[in-house]
């Protein structure tokens, strides 16, 4: 009555694929299909005439990509997006690490309070957060201007934070970082709890200074987590759309275009659906390059364990 070993082997080999099939199917349906459609669209010359009539759009080959890639403005936006991502990620990680380290040393009650606050921030919808930051930095009635004007010698009443895109992006970076810190800080806190107390104690006994302790004991333990969180943050920040859209009242100036916003405007404001699709595809490619780093780290870490 023993089952033939061959059948069992097949079943063992097939089972994992059967188990993962629903996930793969769901991903193919909600991500794969639109993505294929997007790539196709970027090689066509879709206009509203085809959209409204349902006629097949003409094939455009690489024309969309050529016009996008040869446009200096596109590269300005790419550079701006990259810079924005770097600033946001660095600020997020530094702040999160400081918060996480602080949470390790404060009293239990304070730690609970901090956790509560972080979770509350994490739970706040982007929509609400962006609106609040917009009101805080309002030129006429904003609290930020009022507060800063209390500093002697500083008059910021009626100062418009969005007139100068550098200042405007400072506010937008504020919202993005503020929203990202809870996740990063709590994840790092979890990683910090993996640092063996004996190890830290031994280092201190051996005369290690706090900085050395962090450099040689704490950091090696939390490094894998930090790398993962950094990659995830980079991917999120590269694709930022909502914060800019909401803080510029749905009408972002050209100086505020990041890749996501630029693609959306080309597609749905200027109605160059195919050019917008090409920009989106290029953005996805750039993100994929980032994702490769992330996946390599994952594999690397897996191998290390």
């Amino acid at each position: 009555m023993e089952q033939p070993p061959r059948a069992a082997r097949v079943r063992r080999r097939v089972l994992p694929y059967l188990l993962i099939a629903p996930t793969v199917l769901a991903l193919a349906a909600v991500l794969g299909y639109p993505l294929v459609d997007l790539v196709l669209l970027s090689f066509q010359g879709m206009t509203r005439r085809e959209l409204f009539s349902g006629a097949a759009p003409p094939w455009a080959g690489l024309a969309n990509y050529r016009s996008v890639l040869s446009d200096g403005f596109f590269w300005t936006v790419v550079g701006r997006t990259a810079l924005f991502t770097v600033v946001c990620v660095v600020a997020t990680m530094v702040l999160s690490l400081l918060v996480a380290l602080l949470m390790r040393v404060v009293a239990r009650g304070v730690r609970t309070l901090m956790t509560g606050v972080l979770v509350a921030v994490w739970a706040m919808p982007v929509m609400v957060a962006a609106s609040i930051f917009r009101w805080l930095s309002d030129a006429d009635y904003g609290v930020v201007n009022w507060l800063l004007s209390l500093v002697p010698g500083l008059d910021l009443s009626k100062h418009n934070w969005f007139e100068n895109p550098w200042q405007g992006f400072a506010v937008i970076t504020g919202v993005v970082v503020w929203g990202a810190v809870p996740f990063a800080a709590l994840t790092l806190l979890a990683a910090l709890s993996q640092v063996p107390a004996e190890l830290a104690e031994a280092a201190l006994v051996d005369g290690a200074r706090p900085r050395q302790l962090f450099r040689h004991v704490t950091w090696p333990v939390i490094r894998p987590t930090a790398v993962l969180v950094t990659s995830l943050c980079a991917i999120w920040d590269f694709g930022v759309f909502n914060q800019i859209w909401l803080m510029r009242g749905g009408q972002p100036e050209k100086e505020y275009y990041l890749l996501g916003v630029y693609s959306f405007i080309e597609s749905f404001a200027v109605n160059r659906y195919s050019a917008g699709a090409a920009i989106a595809v290029l953005t996805v490619l750039m993100l994929l390059a980032g994702a490769v780093v992330y996946v390599r780290q994952l594999v690397h870490l897996g191998a290390a364990e």
């Binding site: 005439r49 959209l51 409204f52 969005f162 100036e253």
Partner: protein
């Protein structure tokens, strides 16, 4: 994908035809009274807020002819309406009647989104306001039906003007500036947030009125192609006059648009502003952020321009169109006919709105709140009927140019040249 849509659309058409044939049952057309169907109408929130009884009344009259047709009226926000329309038109389930702003129609007509209508079936179609009629016409055919129009006027605080010793509204530009000077001297000295004249930097309907007043244009068509002409000498003169007015009398944020104008005016720190007549009412309504204490303290006037005539106002109006994909075009036509006939137009006039035709423009009381608007409407202008005009509007070329000018980031000529380049890039695209 597109091919699939067209095939299914063809299938749908065949199905509709079959259904119609089956419904005819031996060639006899179904009597209107027996026709069971549904009609979906997309109006903007204006109808819901300002003349809901007109919608109810028209639906009641429509039911007298078609007792078994269920009419569903859905209200859309101006800001999100077109994205919803685009999505709907790309699919199969389209609304049967759509309200379109008169600056939005051309692009949809050029791209075959709407079906033609026969003007002869509509009241006063021979006297439709050019601003609306032209927005509906393309290559000799008519694709939508004018609904209503609005013209901006000057609005002032009667009490504040009385306190600086001025009895009535200004009738010329020098008079206007003299009045504003007095307001500024009296109230601006004590309150640095007081604007004698409210003119936010991104308010393009106002700024373009000054361009028109100086004889300039936003864009013109030459040899079948559109070009931005904001950097022409006349346009620049108009923009410069607008900037001077703003520099002299406006103290608020220059990167704002006029979206919350009634609420700001309702704060009581504004002497005069340029806006739609309903905004005076909204400034005294707490629901729109206004102050009820200001009730009865606003009056309207035909706004004089620097050139010596009246400042030509943008005629913002609405039209009603029937999507080419609608399966109930005959019902849609009948509904629009009732909704825009002379009885309905009279109801709109009662709601302080301007009618769609010059004949009934004369029914607007000259002494009423809308009298100056009716007078100004005769000199009104519309946005260029270019295929890519919506793209120009939606990519915010004009507000961004004005913001650069208002904040002093760029000179008028510089900003205008940059805007022309951006206009040229998209205005000819379908």
């Amino acid at each position: 994908m597109a091919e699939r849509i067209s095939r299914s659309a063809a299938g749908l058409g065949a199905f509709a035809m079959l259904a119609a044939v089956a419904g005819c049952g031996g060639g006899k057309p179904v009597a209107a009274a027996d026709r069971a169907d549904e009609l979906t109408v997309w109006l903007t929130v204006d109808a819901q807020e300002s003349w809901p009884d007109l919608v109810t009344e028209v639906n009641r009259r429509f039911r007298q002819t078609y007792p078994k047709v269920k009419v569903t009226v859905q209200y859309q926000q101006w800001t999100t309406k077109n994205q919803k329309i685009d999505a709907a038109l790309a699919g199969r389930d389209v609304p049967d009647v759509i309200e379109m702003g008169n600056s939005e129609t051309t692009n949809y007509i050029v791209n075959g989104a709407f079906t033609t209508v026969d003007p002869a079936k509509y009241d006063h179609s021979g006297q439709w306001l050019p601003a609306l009629r032209d927005a509906c016409r393309y290559e000799g055919k008519t694709y939508c039906v004018p609904y209503y129009v609005g013209a901006r006027v000057g609005i002032y605080r009667t009490d504040l003007l009385a306190r600086v010793g001025v009895a009535g509204a200004p009738r010329s530009y020098p008079e206007l500036r003299a009045d504003l000077d007095k307001l500024k001297a009296k109230f601006g000295a004590a309150d640095k947030n007081f604007s004698a004249f409210y003119m936010p930097g991104r308010y393009w309907y106002a700024a373009m009125a000054f361009v028109k007043d100086a004889g300039g244009e936003i864009a013109v068509s030459r040899d079948g192609r559109w070009h931005g002409t904001l950097s022409s000498a006349r346009s620049v003169a108009g923009l410069t006059a607008w900037k001077q007015l703003l520099d002299a009398y406006y103290t608020g944020d220059r990167s704002k648009d006029n979206g919350d104008e009634p609420a700001v005016v309702g704060q009581g720190r504004v002497g005069m502003f340029y806006g739609n007549t309903w905004e005076a009412k909204a400034a005294t309504d707490s629901r729109s952020g206004g102050d009820p204490a200001l009730r009865g303290k606003f009056a309207t006037f035909a706004f004089p321009g620097p050139s010596g005539g009246l400042l030509p106002p943008f005629l913002g109006g609405s039209t009603l169109a029937i999507p080419a994909k609608s399966a109930r075009q005959d019902l849609a036509q009948d509904w629009i006919r009732l909704f825009t006939d002379r009885t309905s137009q009279r109801r709109l006039i009662a709601a302080d709105t301007l009618p769609n035709n010059t004949a009934q423009l004369r029914e607007v009381a000259a002494g009423g709140v809308n009298g100056p608007a009716a007078r100004a409407a005769e000199h009104g202008w519309v946005t260029p009927p270019a295929p890519g005009w919506t793209a120009v509007e939606k990519s915010n070329v004009l507000p961004e140019m004005l913001q650069d000018i208002a904040t002093g980031k760029r000179s008028v000529a510089d900003a205008a040249r940059a805007a022309d380049r951006r206009i040229d890039a998209v205005i000819n695209e379908h």
